[in-house]
Protein backbone atom coordinates (compact mmCIF):
# COMPACT_ATOMS: atom_id res chain seq x y z
CA UNK A 1 0.00 0.00 0.00
CA UNK A 2 2.62 2.49 1.12
CA UNK A 3 4.84 1.40 -1.74
CA UNK A 4 2.10 2.23 -4.23
CA UNK A 5 1.51 5.60 -2.62
CA UNK A 6 5.20 6.34 -2.80
CA UNK A 7 5.20 5.48 -6.49
CA UNK A 8 2.27 7.71 -7.36
CA UNK A 9 2.91 10.69 -5.11
CA UNK A 10 5.90 12.98 -5.03
CA UNK A 11 7.97 12.19 -1.96
CA UNK A 12 7.89 14.81 0.77
CA UNK A 13 4.34 15.78 -0.18
CA UNK A 14 2.36 12.78 1.01
CA UNK A 15 1.44 14.20 4.38
CA UNK A 16 0.91 17.57 2.74
CA UNK A 17 -1.70 15.99 0.52
CA UNK A 18 -3.46 14.52 3.55
CA UNK A 19 -3.35 17.95 5.15
CA UNK A 20 -4.73 19.56 2.01
CA UNK A 21 -7.62 17.11 1.82
CA UNK A 22 -8.42 17.75 5.47
CA UNK A 23 -8.33 21.47 4.76
CA UNK A 24 -10.72 21.20 1.84
CA UNK A 25 -13.15 19.06 3.82
CA UNK A 26 -13.02 21.36 6.85
CA UNK A 27 -13.70 24.48 4.83
CA UNK A 28 -16.46 22.80 2.87
CA UNK A 29 -18.02 21.46 6.09
CA UNK A 30 -18.14 24.84 7.76
CA UNK A 31 -19.49 26.60 4.67
CA UNK A 32 -22.39 24.14 4.75
CA UNK A 33 -22.76 24.51 8.52
CA UNK A 34 -23.11 28.28 8.21
CA UNK A 35 -25.66 27.85 5.45
CA UNK A 36 -27.65 25.64 7.80
CA UNK A 37 -27.71 28.43 10.35
CA UNK A 38 -24.62 28.26 12.52
CA UNK A 39 -23.92 31.71 13.89
CA UNK A 40 -20.43 33.18 14.12
CA UNK A 41 -19.14 36.54 15.20
CA UNK A 42 -15.86 37.75 13.80
CA UNK A 43 -13.46 39.74 15.91
CA UNK A 44 -13.33 43.35 14.82
CA UNK A 45 -10.91 44.60 12.19
CA UNK A 46 -10.69 48.34 12.95
CA UNK A 47 -9.07 49.21 9.65
CA UNK A 48 -12.12 48.05 7.73
CA UNK A 49 -14.52 49.83 10.05
CA UNK A 50 -12.51 52.99 9.48
CA UNK A 51 -13.34 53.09 5.78
CA UNK A 52 -16.65 54.81 6.50
CA UNK A 53 -14.87 57.35 8.66
CA UNK A 54 -12.46 57.97 5.78
CA UNK A 55 -15.16 58.62 3.18
CA UNK A 56 -17.03 60.73 5.72
CA UNK A 57 -13.95 62.87 6.07
CA UNK A 58 -13.73 63.17 2.28
CA UNK A 59 -17.37 64.29 2.14
CA UNK A 60 -16.74 66.95 4.77
CA UNK A 61 -13.75 68.33 2.93
CA UNK A 62 -15.24 67.88 -0.53
CA UNK A 63 -12.25 65.93 -1.75
CA UNK A 64 -11.94 62.52 -3.40
CA UNK A 65 -10.97 59.25 -1.76
CA UNK A 66 -8.08 57.34 -3.28
CA UNK A 67 -7.68 53.59 -3.45
CA UNK A 68 -4.86 51.42 -4.75
CA UNK A 69 -4.33 47.66 -4.55
CA UNK A 70 -0.56 47.95 -4.93
CA UNK A 71 2.08 46.48 -7.12
CA UNK A 72 2.61 43.18 -8.91
CA UNK A 73 5.78 42.30 -10.73
CA UNK A 74 4.86 40.85 -14.10
CA UNK A 75 1.10 40.70 -13.84
CA UNK A 76 -1.72 39.30 -11.79
CA UNK A 77 -0.37 35.79 -12.41
CA UNK A 78 2.50 36.57 -10.05
CA UNK A 79 2.17 33.95 -7.33
CA UNK A 80 3.39 36.05 -4.39
CA UNK A 81 1.73 39.33 -5.22
CA UNK A 82 -1.31 38.64 -7.38
CA UNK A 83 -3.48 37.02 -4.67
CA UNK A 84 -2.96 39.95 -2.31
CA UNK A 85 -3.87 42.43 -5.03
CA UNK A 86 -7.06 40.48 -5.69
CA UNK A 87 -7.85 40.49 -1.97
CA UNK A 88 -7.27 44.23 -2.02
CA UNK A 89 -9.60 44.76 -4.97
CA UNK A 90 -12.37 43.15 -2.93
CA UNK A 91 -12.02 45.95 -0.39
CA UNK A 92 -12.51 48.40 -3.28
CA UNK A 93 -16.18 47.35 -3.27
CA UNK A 94 -16.54 48.57 0.29
CA UNK A 95 -14.62 51.79 -0.39
CA UNK A 96 -16.55 52.54 -3.59
CA UNK A 97 -19.99 51.89 -2.10
CA UNK A 98 -19.15 53.89 1.00
CA UNK A 99 -17.95 56.75 -1.22
CA UNK A 100 -21.01 56.52 -3.46
CA UNK A 101 -23.31 56.70 -0.43
CA UNK A 102 -21.75 59.98 0.65
CA UNK A 103 -21.46 61.39 -2.85
CA UNK A 104 -17.68 61.37 -2.69
CA UNK A 105 -15.73 60.81 -5.90
CA UNK A 106 -13.20 58.02 -6.00
CA UNK A 107 -9.82 57.58 -7.67
CA UNK A 108 -8.40 54.10 -8.21
CA UNK A 109 -4.74 53.88 -9.26
CA UNK A 110 -3.71 50.62 -10.84
CA UNK A 111 -0.49 48.91 -11.73
CA UNK A 112 -2.03 45.87 -13.41
CA UNK A 113 -3.68 46.24 -16.83
CA UNK A 114 -5.83 43.16 -16.20
CA UNK A 115 -7.28 44.78 -13.09
CA UNK A 116 -8.67 47.73 -15.05
CA UNK A 117 -11.94 46.04 -16.07
CA UNK A 118 -12.42 44.62 -12.57
CA UNK A 119 -12.01 48.00 -10.93
CA UNK A 120 -14.17 49.78 -13.49
CA UNK A 121 -16.94 47.27 -13.02
CA UNK A 122 -16.72 47.46 -9.23
CA UNK A 123 -16.85 51.25 -9.19
CA UNK A 124 -19.63 51.41 -11.76
CA UNK A 125 -21.83 48.98 -9.83
CA UNK A 126 -21.19 50.69 -6.50
CA UNK A 127 -22.27 54.07 -7.85
CA UNK A 128 -25.16 52.61 -9.82
CA UNK A 129 -26.52 51.05 -6.62
CA UNK A 130 -26.80 54.58 -5.22
CA UNK A 131 -28.35 55.84 -8.43
CA UNK A 132 -25.26 57.78 -9.38
CA UNK A 133 -22.85 57.72 -12.29
CA UNK A 134 -19.29 56.74 -11.49
CA UNK A 135 -16.98 59.76 -11.58
CA UNK A 136 -15.05 60.30 -14.81
CA UNK A 137 -11.42 59.17 -14.79
CA UNK A 138 -12.11 57.14 -11.65
CA UNK A 139 -10.05 54.13 -12.64
CA UNK A 140 -6.56 55.04 -13.74
CA UNK A 141 -4.03 52.56 -14.96
CA UNK A 142 -0.66 54.22 -14.46
CA UNK A 143 2.14 51.88 -15.39
CA UNK A 144 3.26 48.29 -15.12
CA UNK A 145 6.63 49.51 -13.87
CA UNK A 146 7.02 50.02 -10.16
CA UNK A 147 8.48 53.49 -9.87
CA UNK A 148 6.57 54.95 -12.77
CA UNK A 149 3.49 53.81 -10.87
CA UNK A 150 4.81 55.38 -7.66
CA UNK A 151 5.54 58.65 -9.45
CA UNK A 152 2.06 58.67 -10.94
CA UNK A 153 0.37 58.14 -7.60
CA UNK A 154 2.47 60.74 -5.79
CA UNK A 155 1.82 63.24 -8.55
CA UNK A 156 -1.90 62.55 -8.27
CA UNK A 157 -1.65 63.17 -4.50
CA UNK A 158 -0.25 66.61 -5.14
CA UNK A 159 -2.76 67.56 -7.81
CA UNK A 160 -6.05 66.16 -6.58
CA UNK A 161 -5.24 66.08 -2.87
CA UNK A 162 -7.45 63.18 -1.75
CA UNK A 163 -8.63 63.50 1.84
CA UNK A 164 -8.23 59.79 2.48
CA UNK A 165 -6.04 57.07 1.03
CA UNK A 166 -6.92 53.41 1.25
CA UNK A 167 -3.90 51.25 0.42
CA UNK A 168 -4.89 47.60 0.43
CA UNK A 169 -3.02 44.87 -1.39
CA UNK A 170 0.57 44.03 -2.12
CA UNK A 171 3.29 46.62 -1.68
CA UNK A 172 7.02 46.86 -1.78
CA UNK A 173 8.91 50.05 -1.01
CA UNK A 174 5.96 52.10 -2.26
CA UNK A 175 4.09 51.24 0.95
CA UNK A 176 5.95 53.92 2.83
CA UNK A 177 6.03 56.33 -0.09
CA UNK A 178 2.25 56.23 -0.39
CA UNK A 179 1.61 56.29 3.35
CA UNK A 180 3.99 59.18 4.10
CA UNK A 181 3.00 61.01 0.91
CA UNK A 182 -0.53 60.79 2.21
CA UNK A 183 0.60 62.33 5.47
CA UNK A 184 2.35 65.22 3.66
CA UNK A 185 -0.93 66.26 2.05
CA UNK A 186 -2.76 65.88 5.36
CA UNK A 187 -4.86 62.92 4.31
CA UNK A 188 -6.06 60.04 6.42
CA UNK A 189 -4.35 56.73 5.63
CA UNK A 190 -5.67 53.19 5.92
CA UNK A 191 -3.15 50.54 4.99
CA UNK A 192 -3.28 46.81 4.67
CA UNK A 193 -0.93 44.19 3.28
CA UNK A 194 0.34 40.69 3.82
CA UNK A 195 3.70 41.57 2.29
CA UNK A 196 6.18 40.40 4.90
CA UNK A 197 8.69 43.16 4.40
CA UNK A 198 6.21 46.05 4.38
CA UNK A 199 3.75 45.47 7.24
CA UNK A 200 6.10 47.26 9.60
CA UNK A 201 5.87 50.46 7.58
CA UNK A 202 2.12 50.45 7.52
CA UNK A 203 2.15 49.75 11.24
CA UNK A 204 4.29 52.81 11.81
CA UNK A 205 2.87 55.22 9.32
CA UNK A 206 -0.87 54.57 8.83
CA UNK A 207 -3.78 55.81 10.92
CA UNK A 208 -5.36 52.36 10.67
CA UNK A 209 -3.80 49.23 9.32
CA UNK A 210 -4.46 45.55 8.91
CA UNK A 211 -1.92 42.88 8.11
CA UNK A 212 -1.31 39.25 7.31
CA UNK A 213 -4.37 37.10 6.95
CA UNK A 214 -6.71 39.94 7.88
CA UNK A 215 -6.33 41.06 4.27
CA UNK A 216 -7.70 37.76 3.00
CA UNK A 217 -10.41 37.72 5.66
CA UNK A 218 -11.59 41.21 4.72
CA UNK A 219 -14.16 39.92 2.25
CA UNK A 220 -15.83 37.74 4.84
CA UNK A 221 -15.81 40.64 7.27
CA UNK A 222 -17.40 43.04 4.78
CA UNK A 223 -19.91 40.86 3.00
CA UNK A 224 -20.79 38.38 5.76
CA UNK A 225 -21.86 35.88 3.07
CA UNK A 226 -22.14 32.30 4.39
CA UNK A 227 -19.54 31.00 1.91
CA UNK A 228 -16.94 33.38 3.18
CA UNK A 229 -17.77 33.15 6.87
CA UNK A 230 -17.67 29.38 6.61
CA UNK A 231 -14.26 29.56 5.06
CA UNK A 232 -13.03 31.77 7.89
CA UNK A 233 -14.34 29.39 10.55
CA UNK A 234 -12.75 26.49 8.69
CA UNK A 235 -9.46 28.35 8.59
CA UNK A 236 -9.69 28.93 12.33
CA UNK A 237 -10.07 25.20 12.85
CA UNK A 238 -7.00 24.70 10.67
CA UNK A 239 -5.09 27.15 12.78
CA UNK A 240 -5.84 24.96 15.79
CA UNK A 241 -4.56 21.98 13.82
CA UNK A 242 -1.43 23.88 12.87
CA UNK A 243 -0.84 24.93 16.46
CA UNK A 244 -1.25 21.31 17.50
CA UNK A 245 1.21 20.04 14.91
CA UNK A 246 3.69 22.76 15.83
CA UNK A 247 3.53 21.95 19.51
CA UNK A 248 3.72 18.22 18.81
CA UNK A 249 6.80 18.58 16.61
CA UNK A 250 8.34 20.78 19.24
CA UNK A 251 7.70 18.19 21.93
CA UNK A 252 8.87 15.43 19.62
CA UNK A 253 12.10 17.32 19.02
CA UNK A 254 12.58 17.80 22.73
CA UNK A 255 11.97 14.16 23.56
CA UNK A 256 13.97 12.90 20.60
CA UNK A 257 10.98 11.22 19.01
CA UNK A 258 12.11 11.43 15.38
CA UNK A 259 9.37 9.30 13.82
CA UNK A 260 6.87 12.16 13.94
CA UNK A 261 8.98 14.49 11.84
CA UNK A 262 9.81 11.81 9.32
CA UNK A 263 6.08 11.07 9.09
CA UNK A 264 5.29 14.75 8.49
CA UNK A 265 8.06 14.93 5.91
CA UNK A 266 6.83 11.81 4.17
Amino acid sequence: MIAIIRQVLISGRIFQLIFMVVTIITIFWYIEAIKRGKVVTLRSIPALDAIDEATGRCAEMGRPVHFTPGYTQGGLYNADMGPQVMAGLVILQKVASSAAKRGVSIIVSLNQPEAVPIAEETVRVAYANEGAVSPPKAVRFISTEQYAYVAGVLSMYLEERPAANVLMGFFWSESLQFAEGSNYIGAMTIGGTASASQMAFFAASCDYFLFGEELFAARAYIEKAPDLLGSIVGQDILRILILAITVLTWLAGNFKYTQLVSFLKM
Binding site: Q73, G74, N78, Q146, Y147, S173, S197
Partner: protein, 275 residues
Protein backbone atom coordinates in the same frame (compact mmCIF):
# COMPACT_ATOMS: atom_id res chain seq x y z
CA UNK B 1 9.08 74.15 35.55
CA UNK B 2 10.02 77.15 33.49
CA UNK B 3 8.43 78.25 30.27
CA UNK B 4 11.79 78.12 28.59
CA UNK B 5 12.02 74.37 29.28
CA UNK B 6 8.62 73.77 27.80
CA UNK B 7 9.43 75.67 24.64
CA UNK B 8 12.61 73.62 24.15
CA UNK B 9 10.65 70.40 24.56
CA UNK B 10 8.02 71.67 22.12
CA UNK B 11 10.68 72.47 19.60
CA UNK B 12 12.22 69.00 19.86
CA UNK B 13 8.84 67.39 19.36
CA UNK B 14 7.98 69.56 16.37
CA UNK B 15 11.11 69.74 14.27
CA UNK B 16 10.41 70.50 10.62
CA UNK B 17 11.05 67.25 8.79
CA UNK B 18 13.01 69.13 6.16
CA UNK B 19 15.63 70.01 8.77
CA UNK B 20 16.10 66.29 9.49
CA UNK B 21 16.44 65.59 5.79
CA UNK B 22 19.10 68.27 5.37
CA UNK B 23 21.09 66.87 8.31
CA UNK B 24 20.87 63.38 6.80
CA UNK B 25 22.00 64.70 3.42
CA UNK B 26 25.01 66.41 4.99
CA UNK B 27 25.90 63.38 7.11
CA UNK B 28 25.74 61.18 4.04
CA UNK B 29 27.61 63.37 1.59
CA UNK B 30 30.49 64.75 3.67
CA UNK B 31 32.00 61.34 4.52
CA UNK B 32 31.52 60.27 0.91
CA UNK B 33 33.73 63.08 -0.33
CA UNK B 34 36.19 62.93 2.59
CA UNK B 35 36.10 59.39 4.02
CA UNK B 36 37.19 59.12 7.65
CA UNK B 37 38.32 55.51 7.35
CA UNK B 38 36.48 54.15 10.39
CA UNK B 39 37.23 50.48 11.12
CA UNK B 40 35.27 47.72 9.38
CA UNK B 41 34.56 44.32 10.86
CA UNK B 42 34.34 41.53 8.31
CA UNK B 43 31.53 39.07 9.00
CA UNK B 44 32.06 35.36 8.59
CA UNK B 45 29.45 34.97 5.84
CA UNK B 46 31.18 37.60 3.70
CA UNK B 47 34.50 35.81 4.27
CA UNK B 48 32.81 32.61 3.12
CA UNK B 49 31.43 34.37 0.06
CA UNK B 50 34.93 35.61 -0.79
CA UNK B 51 36.54 32.20 -0.17
CA UNK B 52 33.97 30.38 -2.29
CA UNK B 53 35.13 32.40 -5.30
CA UNK B 54 38.79 32.61 -4.31
CA UNK B 55 39.14 28.83 -3.94
CA UNK B 56 37.54 27.92 -7.27
CA UNK B 57 39.98 26.11 -9.53
CA UNK B 58 40.63 28.14 -12.73
CA UNK B 59 38.34 27.19 -15.58
CA UNK B 60 35.38 26.13 -13.44
CA UNK B 61 32.12 27.66 -14.59
CA UNK B 62 30.05 30.09 -12.52
CA UNK B 63 26.45 31.00 -13.23
CA UNK B 64 25.43 34.46 -12.04
CA UNK B 65 21.86 35.49 -11.55
CA UNK B 66 22.71 39.11 -10.90
CA UNK B 67 19.19 40.44 -11.12
CA UNK B 68 19.43 44.07 -10.13
CA UNK B 69 16.33 46.15 -10.47
CA UNK B 70 17.17 49.66 -11.69
CA UNK B 71 16.10 51.24 -8.42
CA UNK B 72 18.41 49.02 -6.41
CA UNK B 73 21.51 49.94 -8.38
CA UNK B 74 22.61 52.35 -5.68
CA UNK B 75 22.73 49.58 -3.14
CA UNK B 76 23.93 46.69 -5.27
CA UNK B 77 26.27 48.28 -7.80
CA UNK B 78 29.42 47.75 -5.75
CA UNK B 79 28.40 44.23 -4.78
CA UNK B 80 28.11 43.29 -8.45
CA UNK B 81 31.17 45.14 -9.71
CA UNK B 82 33.43 43.64 -7.05
CA UNK B 83 32.07 40.14 -7.63
CA UNK B 84 32.49 40.31 -11.41
CA UNK B 85 35.98 41.82 -11.09
CA UNK B 86 36.91 38.99 -8.76
CA UNK B 87 35.75 36.42 -11.32
CA UNK B 88 37.66 38.14 -14.14
CA UNK B 89 40.80 38.41 -12.02
CA UNK B 90 40.63 34.72 -11.17
CA UNK B 91 40.16 33.69 -14.84
CA UNK B 92 36.81 32.10 -14.12
CA UNK B 93 34.30 31.99 -16.98
CA UNK B 94 30.73 32.91 -16.13
CA UNK B 95 27.24 33.06 -17.56
CA UNK B 96 24.92 35.90 -16.56
CA UNK B 97 21.18 35.47 -16.79
CA UNK B 98 18.28 37.31 -15.17
CA UNK B 99 14.65 36.46 -14.53
CA UNK B 100 13.13 39.24 -12.43
CA UNK B 101 12.73 42.17 -14.76
CA UNK B 102 13.73 42.98 -18.30
CA UNK B 103 15.59 46.09 -17.21
CA UNK B 104 17.95 43.90 -15.17
CA UNK B 105 19.72 43.30 -18.48
CA UNK B 106 20.32 47.03 -18.80
CA UNK B 107 21.55 47.42 -15.24
CA UNK B 108 23.92 44.52 -15.83
CA UNK B 109 25.42 46.36 -18.82
CA UNK B 110 25.85 49.41 -16.64
CA UNK B 111 27.54 47.39 -13.90
CA UNK B 112 29.76 45.44 -16.25
CA UNK B 113 31.00 48.62 -17.95
CA UNK B 114 32.76 49.45 -14.66
CA UNK B 115 34.69 46.18 -14.63
CA UNK B 116 38.23 45.98 -16.00
CA UNK B 117 37.83 43.18 -18.57
CA UNK B 118 41.59 42.49 -18.89
CA UNK B 119 41.25 41.44 -22.55
CA UNK B 120 38.62 38.79 -21.91
CA UNK B 121 36.54 37.85 -24.94
CA UNK B 122 32.76 37.68 -25.11
CA UNK B 123 31.47 34.20 -25.81
CA UNK B 124 34.67 32.57 -24.56
CA UNK B 125 35.10 33.99 -21.08
CA UNK B 126 31.63 35.22 -20.38
CA UNK B 127 28.14 35.09 -21.81
CA UNK B 128 25.24 37.41 -21.05
CA UNK B 129 22.04 35.52 -21.75
CA UNK B 130 19.92 38.50 -20.73
CA UNK B 131 16.37 38.43 -19.46
CA UNK B 132 14.15 35.36 -19.64
CA UNK B 133 10.38 35.60 -19.20
CA UNK B 134 8.54 32.90 -17.26
CA UNK B 135 10.00 33.16 -13.75
CA UNK B 136 10.36 29.81 -12.01
CA UNK B 137 9.57 27.54 -14.95
CA UNK B 138 12.16 29.44 -16.99
CA UNK B 139 14.75 28.90 -14.26
CA UNK B 140 14.12 25.17 -14.37
CA UNK B 141 14.31 25.02 -18.16
CA UNK B 142 17.52 27.05 -18.25
CA UNK B 143 19.19 24.77 -15.71
CA UNK B 144 18.42 21.75 -17.86
CA UNK B 145 19.84 23.32 -21.00
CA UNK B 146 21.77 26.59 -21.16
CA UNK B 147 20.86 27.11 -24.80
CA UNK B 148 17.12 26.97 -24.06
CA UNK B 149 16.54 30.72 -24.50
CA UNK B 150 17.88 30.47 -28.08
CA UNK B 151 19.53 33.88 -28.31
CA UNK B 152 21.58 35.94 -25.91
CA UNK B 153 21.10 39.56 -24.90
CA UNK B 154 22.79 40.84 -28.09
CA UNK B 155 20.94 38.55 -30.51
CA UNK B 156 23.73 35.96 -30.95
CA UNK B 157 22.65 32.33 -31.23
CA UNK B 158 23.64 30.63 -27.97
CA UNK B 159 24.55 27.37 -29.70
CA UNK B 160 27.32 29.18 -31.61
CA UNK B 161 29.09 30.55 -28.55
CA UNK B 162 32.30 28.63 -27.66
CA UNK B 163 31.62 28.77 -23.91
CA UNK B 164 28.25 27.08 -24.30
CA UNK B 165 29.72 24.39 -26.53
CA UNK B 166 31.95 23.46 -23.60
CA UNK B 167 29.40 23.74 -20.79
CA UNK B 168 25.89 22.43 -21.34
CA UNK B 169 23.84 22.48 -18.17
CA UNK B 170 23.75 23.16 -14.46
CA UNK B 171 25.64 19.87 -13.93
CA UNK B 172 28.81 21.54 -15.24
CA UNK B 173 28.59 24.44 -12.81
CA UNK B 174 30.82 24.81 -9.77
CA UNK B 175 29.20 27.83 -8.13
CA UNK B 176 25.96 29.81 -8.39
CA UNK B 177 25.85 33.47 -7.48
CA UNK B 178 22.31 34.68 -7.09
CA UNK B 179 19.36 35.47 -4.92
CA UNK B 180 15.86 34.37 -4.25
CA UNK B 181 14.05 31.27 -3.11
CA UNK B 182 13.50 30.23 -6.72
CA UNK B 183 17.25 29.99 -7.38
CA UNK B 184 17.61 27.69 -4.42
CA UNK B 185 14.55 25.62 -5.33
CA UNK B 186 15.39 25.23 -9.02
CA UNK B 187 19.19 25.33 -9.19
CA UNK B 188 21.16 24.90 -6.01
CA UNK B 189 19.22 22.08 -4.35
CA UNK B 190 18.22 19.87 -7.30
CA UNK B 191 21.67 20.06 -8.97
CA UNK B 192 23.55 20.09 -5.68
CA UNK B 193 25.69 23.09 -6.63
CA UNK B 194 27.32 25.44 -4.11
CA UNK B 195 25.61 28.78 -3.98
CA UNK B 196 26.58 32.26 -2.86
CA UNK B 197 23.69 34.51 -1.87
CA UNK B 198 23.80 37.88 -3.57
CA UNK B 199 21.01 39.85 -1.94
CA UNK B 200 19.62 43.24 -1.01
CA UNK B 201 20.10 44.33 2.58
CA UNK B 202 16.41 43.88 3.36
CA UNK B 203 16.55 40.21 2.33
CA UNK B 204 19.49 39.45 4.60
CA UNK B 205 17.19 37.77 7.12
CA UNK B 206 15.96 35.27 4.56
CA UNK B 207 19.48 34.66 3.26
CA UNK B 208 20.80 33.95 6.74
CA UNK B 209 18.25 31.17 7.21
CA UNK B 210 19.58 29.38 4.14
CA UNK B 211 23.16 30.02 5.19
CA UNK B 212 22.57 28.59 8.65
CA UNK B 213 20.85 25.58 7.13
CA UNK B 214 23.96 24.95 5.02
CA UNK B 215 22.16 25.42 1.71
CA UNK B 216 24.20 28.45 0.70
CA UNK B 217 27.91 28.90 1.38
CA UNK B 218 28.18 32.68 1.73
CA UNK B 219 26.19 35.91 1.74
CA UNK B 220 26.87 39.29 0.21
CA UNK B 221 24.16 41.69 1.24
CA UNK B 222 23.78 45.39 0.65
CA UNK B 223 26.40 48.09 0.88
CA UNK B 224 27.91 46.81 4.17
CA UNK B 225 28.53 43.47 2.48
CA UNK B 226 30.11 45.15 -0.52
CA UNK B 227 32.36 47.22 1.74
CA UNK B 228 33.58 44.14 3.61
CA UNK B 229 34.15 42.36 0.33
CA UNK B 230 36.16 45.25 -1.11
CA UNK B 231 38.13 45.34 2.13
CA UNK B 232 38.91 41.61 1.83
CA UNK B 233 39.99 42.00 -1.78
CA UNK B 234 42.21 44.92 -0.85
CA UNK B 235 40.48 47.22 -3.32
CA UNK B 236 38.57 49.69 -1.15
CA UNK B 237 36.08 51.53 -3.33
CA UNK B 238 32.97 53.59 -2.94
CA UNK B 239 31.28 51.05 -0.67
CA UNK B 240 34.03 51.39 1.93
CA UNK B 241 33.66 55.17 1.86
CA UNK B 242 29.92 54.76 2.15
CA UNK B 243 30.30 52.89 5.47
CA UNK B 244 31.35 56.06 7.26
CA UNK B 245 28.37 57.88 5.82
CA UNK B 246 26.00 55.11 6.85
CA UNK B 247 27.42 54.92 10.38
CA UNK B 248 27.17 58.68 10.84
CA UNK B 249 23.60 59.02 9.65
CA UNK B 250 22.41 55.91 11.48
CA UNK B 251 23.93 57.16 14.73
CA UNK B 252 22.21 60.51 14.17
CA UNK B 253 18.87 58.74 13.79
CA UNK B 254 19.44 56.71 16.96
CA UNK B 255 20.26 59.93 18.80
CA UNK B 256 17.13 61.53 17.42
CA UNK B 257 15.09 58.58 18.66
CA UNK B 258 16.47 58.92 22.18
CA UNK B 259 16.01 62.70 22.35
CA UNK B 260 12.48 62.81 20.95
CA UNK B 261 11.33 60.03 23.22
CA UNK B 262 12.91 61.59 26.28
CA UNK B 263 11.22 64.86 25.39
CA UNK B 264 7.95 63.08 24.75
CA UNK B 265 7.94 61.29 28.11
CA UNK B 266 8.92 64.50 29.90
CA UNK B 267 6.12 66.38 28.14
CA UNK B 268 3.54 63.72 28.98
CA UNK B 269 4.52 63.69 32.64
CA UNK B 270 4.22 67.45 32.69
CA UNK B 271 0.72 67.38 31.30
CA UNK B 272 -0.33 64.72 33.74
CA UNK B 273 0.97 66.80 36.66
CA UNK B 274 -0.98 69.83 35.46
CA UNK B 275 -4.23 67.96 35.29
Amino acid sequence: MTNKNISVIKRILEIDKRLIWIIILILLSVPLVHPWGLPIKVDQYVKDYYNAIENLPPGSLVVCRIDIEAGNLGEQNDQAVTTLQHLIDKNIPFIEVCFDRADSAITFEKVFSQVNKKGKIYGVDWVNVGYMEGKESALAAFAKDFTYPGKDQYGNVLNDLPLLKKYKSMNDVKLIIGSGDSTIRQWAVPYNVKMNSFVLGIFFGDAVNYYNAGITVGILSGLPGAAQYQFLRGTPGLAVAAMDALSASQIFLIGLLIITNAAYIYDQNNRRRKQ
